[in-house]
């Protein structure tokens, strides 16, 4: 039984290549069935996200053959020549494959370390494989173990703490000021890309009124149409400022568009309700003196980047702790997997012992003619006693054999045990 993984990720490939190798959700069942046939049974899971395309397989085929099948399959399925992706491909087997899956699921291999999405994506990939009956005992145990470790990492470490993108940091700050972004009004000044990204993050949290201000009013109308917002003429900026709870500014203006006096007047008109202001423009559009005002919370691009970097650094500091958990998980899973190799031998030994037990029980009952046919209870007690004895005799060797197989060379250990119990060697 061999575990292998083959794939490409953001570490080894360009986005363009990952786009070419991507498996759409609708294609997964067919791809899984084809893979299962090619591997001649076993278990297989296909994970395809924007950052990685990976195939996990558990097969009886030798490792090099299995890896060859997986490598060729990726190209053949997409009709891409192997030389286009061969150098970007990585292949792991055995413990390395297990560790890789645990790192991926635990978000330690992600582009943004600690992001929560990957756990759901791996889970979905596993469910598709399960529904197509492409999982076996080993693959199921492997993925269940991966989910448990990922959850443990998320709950017991700070790997997912804090947000690490400018947009998410802005949202975090906004929700530290407003209880609920639903019903709030956001004003975006200018049409910079970063501003639009930040606006999207904030709108995704429920902001439903968007005011768009642009020097080019036609452009504002066009943008307003896209986000179902309201276009405001540039000369009406100050008049509309009190309507906004959130202000995002990202124009190319060479000087400040808004200063303390503008916000002072706006605050008076909105009964001092707080403003959340994000100035992403360089040079800045909003006078930094506004930061000192009460009820105005102004952040520039450096502020947001500082928070994002601090959060990312905090996550990085957790990686060692997480890797320790992954290593422990690999160790435990590997011991369990190796122990599986002993199962047929254990079953043979158990069968032999129980046969012997049954024989001895019959012999004993034959030697006790005084136990009449009606004394069923006594017969059952004797049989149960022998059974308990046999199980007790088997328990320690079974546990020890699994342990030895996990830590020593399984072939040597099993060969010795089979000779000891007079069992036939499997072909």
């Amino acid at each position: 039984m061999n575990l292998v993984v083959t794939g490409v990720s953001h570490h080894t490939s360009t986005l363009e290549l990952r786009e070419r190798l991507h498996f759409p959700e609708s294609a997964l069942p067919a791809a899984l069935m084809k893979l299962k046939t090619a591997l001649d049974g076993g278990g297989v899971v296909l994970l395809s996200t924007c950052n990685r395309v990976e195939i996990y397989a558990c097969t009886n085929a030798p490792v090099h053959i299995a890896q060859d099948i997986l490598r060729r399959f990726i190209g053949e399925w997409h009709g891409i020549p192997e030389q286009d992706y061969r150098d970007s491909l990585y292949q792991y087997e055995g413990r390395e494959a297990v560790g890789h899956l645990f790192r991926v699921t635990g978000s330690l291999d992600s582009l943004v370390v600690g992001e929560a999405q990957i756990l759901g994506q791996v889970h979905d990939a596993y469910l598709v494989a399960q529904s197509e009956q492409c999982t076996d005992k080993v693959i199921s145990a492997l993925f269940q173990r991966a989910f448990a470790i990922a959850k443990d990492i998320r709950s017991q470490t700070n790997i997912g703490a804090g947000t690490v993108s400018i947009g998410s940091v802005a949202v975090d700050l906004a929700v530290s000021i407003f209880s609920d972004l639903a019903g709030k009004t956001a004003m975006i000044i200018g049409s910079g890309k970063m501003g639009a990204t930040t606006l999207r993050s904030i709108v995704s949290r429920g902001v439903d009124n968007v005011l768009l201000v642009n020097r080019n009013h036609d452009r504002a109308i066009e943008l307003a149409g896209r986000v179902r917002g309201e276009a405001i003429p540039f000369d009406q900026l100050e008049a509309n400022l009190p309507r906004a709870d959130i202000v995002i500014s990202s124009t190319a203006a060479p000087s400040h568009l808004l200063g303390p006096a503008h916000f002072q007047r706006a605050l008076r008109r909105r009964s001092n309700e707080p403003f959340f202001v994000v100035d992403i423009a360089v040079p800045r559009n909003i006078d930094p003196a506004v930061k000192r005002m009460d009820n105005v919370y102004l952040y520039d691009i450096d502020d947001l980047q500082t928070v994002a970097n601090a959060n990312m650094e905090a996550r990085r500091q957790e990686i060692d702790l997480c890797m320790q958990r992954v290593e422990n998980g690999v160790e435990q899973f590997w011991a369990w997997l190796q122990g599986l190799a002993a199962e047929p031998t254990i079953m043979s030994i158990a069968a032999g012992i129980h046969q012997l037990r049954e024989r001895e029980v019959q012999k004993l009952l034959a030697q006790l003619p005084e136990l009449g046919e009606h004394d069923e209870q006594a017969r059952e007690l004797i049989a149960a006693s022998f059974k308990r004895f046999a199980n007790a005799v088997l328990h320690q060797p079974t546990v020890q054999l699994k342990r030895e197989v996990a830590h020593q060379d399984p072939h040597t250990v099993l060969h010795l045990v089979k000779r000891l119990f007079g069992l036939k060697e499997s072909p």
Binding site: A161, I177, F178, N272, E273
Partner: protein
């Protein structure tokens, strides 16, 4: 019964102290189990204070609302009763860790300074409306106390947001908007209640002048009550009109109420608060 009262009082104080210590631990580590334990300690302390109130009432057959130890116990108990529903929701639970230490401080102060009056027989409040006057005054004070604590948390959260120290402690504080709403709703309930009970007191003084000193209206207790009413009148109306909001309002409430409370405790502990203050001094 006396020993039972002493033990109940001391254990209640200890539970508040434990809650304060656990609040600190929670703010450092952010573990939910510690927050739950803090909650249990506060609830335990409040239950014991309520038990103490009942025991004092049963022992002397009078509502225990007049001695220092009783007033502070009821203040802590009522403040706890205000706090517990406030911190019920998931995103505001961490607030408890800002409420518990000042409650503990007050409990310890009462344990040290007020304990002596634990054996004092409460004055008889034979007129129904006098009892109706004293009880709501304490409730209004409890609301102001919790309002000032909420104001303090607002200042902390606003400062964190201004200086971008949002991850200074693992415990997540509620949004400013929610803190502002909580602060205002506490003032909105406390201020009218306080004014009504103050007027009720004045009405009582008019009805029963023989029970009071001629200078009762300028006794420290009355002056302090009027000053408190003025402070919260200003806070309430300026917030209602939108003139004062956010950090400035929080500062007014925190500083104003802290000064009032400090003066009250000073007057209480030195026995100078009563109606006979001026005539006694002259």
């Amino acid at each position: 019964m006396t020993l039972a009262i002493d033990i109940t009082f001391l254990v209640a104080v200890c539970l508040y102290v434990v809650a304060a210590v656990m609040s600190y631990v929670y703010l450092q580590g952010g573990k939910n189990s510690v927050l739950r334990a803090t909650h249990h300690a506060v609830v335990g302390g409040a239950v014991l204070l309520f038990l103490l109130f009942c025991m004092r009432w049963a022992t002397h057959g009078r509502l225990p609302l007049t001695t220092m130890v009783d007033v502070l116990n009821i203040l802590i108990l009522t403040a706890t009763a205000v706090v517990l529903p406030l911190v019920r929701r998931e995103n505001v639970r961490a607030l408890l860790c800002y409420y518990a230490p000042p409650l503990a401080l007050l409990a310890v102060f009462n344990g040290i300074v007020g304990r002596a009056s634990l054996r004092t027989v409460p004055k008889e409040l034979n007129e129904a409306f006098v009892a109706m006057h004293v009880g709501p005054v304490i409730i209004a004070f409890a609301l102001f106390f919790v309002a000032s604590l909420t104001g303090f948390v607002y200042i902390v959260q606003a400062q964190r947001l201004k200086s971008l120290r949002t991850n200074a402690t693992p415990a997540k504080l509620p949004p400013l908007e929610q803190l502002d709403a909580t602060l205002f709703s506490l003032i909105r309930w406390g201020y009218p209640l306080f004014v009504v009970t103050l007027l009720l007191g004045f009405f009582g003084a008019y009805l029963f002048p023989e029970e009071l000193d001629a200078n009762w209206w300028r006794s420290p207790k009355i002056l302090l009550a009027v000053a408190t009413a003025a402070l919260f009148s200003f806070s309430f109306h300026s917030r209602k009109l939108g003139l004062l909001r956010g950090r400035k309002l929080a500062y007014v409430v925190v500083v104003g109420f802290t000064v009032m409370l400090a003066i009250y405790l000073l007057l209480q502990s030195t026995g100078l608060k009563d109606y006979g203050f001026w005539s006694a001094s002259v």
